[in-house]
Amino acid sequence: MSSNQKSERNVNQQNPNPPGSAALDERLQAHIGTQLKSMYDSFLTEPIPDRLVELLQELDRVSEKKAARGESKE
């Protein structure tokens, strides 16, 4: 009497959507939203690095020279 082959495959090993996953999802999404915003805001408030300030000064000088030579298309 070998009925051991009959062992049913354990289909419901794990419920992919356990109760409370919707709430977790909501909490995660709120978390993602605030993390993203605070990351971005922290970048926004960083001082502009010297190399960019210098670049702008350089660009200004070039534009002024151009303008002085009457190359500006304004």
């Binding site: 990351m39 971005y40 922290s42 970048f43 670049l55 660009l59």
Partner: protein, 183 residues
């Protein structure tokens, strides 16, 4: 307003966008620099009164993608290196949560990361984001959704990993025998 002056005012935003896209301050500043030079030399083609921020974001974004194409091979194995680099500098971002988020964000495909940052942080509208990314509004929406979903998966996995059990312990946990207790 003088467009040149206006351009200056957008630098913090441009930088924040660049930093969000590429995760490295050096690369971000290279991108901002490139975008500024391009914008500066094309100021004539900018229509005064139109959306300068979107215009600048478009220039920066295009610079980002051309750089990405150039160094695609490097970028492919940079994910791990970037994560390791960030892990050794937790002070950079202040708190741990933030660092985890950054690492997760960097795992997203660039088009999804870009859409999420534009909509979720930069304050751009869907229309503006679509214009910047040169795609349909619906595409922006689906990229944002996929980005949020993927981030949730990554962050949820990380919180599960703290408590185990994960995939490797699964075979041990699930017992193969369902003994029939026949009385």
């Amino acid at each position: 307003m003088n467009p040149r002056k206006e351009l200056l005012e957008h630098i913090p935003n441009l930088r924040a966008f660049a930093m969000s896209l590429c995760g490295s301050a050096d690369r971000a500043d290279d991108l901002v620099q490139e975008a500024l030079v391009k914008a500066w030399s094309n100021l004539d083609s900018f229509e005064v009164g139109t959306n300068m921020r979107a215009w600048l974001f478009t220039i920066l974004r295009n610079a980002f993608y051309s750089e990405l194409r150039k160094r695609r091979r490097e970028v492919e194995d940079a994910d791990g290196a970037m994560a390791a680099k960030l892990a050794t500098h937790p002070a950079q971002s202040g708190h741990m949560d933030f660092k985890d988020f950054r690492v997760a964000l960097d795992k997203l495909p660039p088009d999804q990361r870009e859409a999420l940052v534009l909509i979720g942080a930069s304050g751009m509208s869907y229309d503006e984001a679509a214009e910047i990314c040169d795609c349909a509004v619906g595409t922006v929406k689906s990229r944002v959704n996929r980005a949020r979903q993927r981030l949730a998966e990554i962050l949820a996995l990380e919180s599960v990993a703290e408590f185990g059990p994960d995939g490797t312990s699964q075979p041990i946990v699930s017992s193969p025998t369902t003994t029939r207790s026949v009385a």
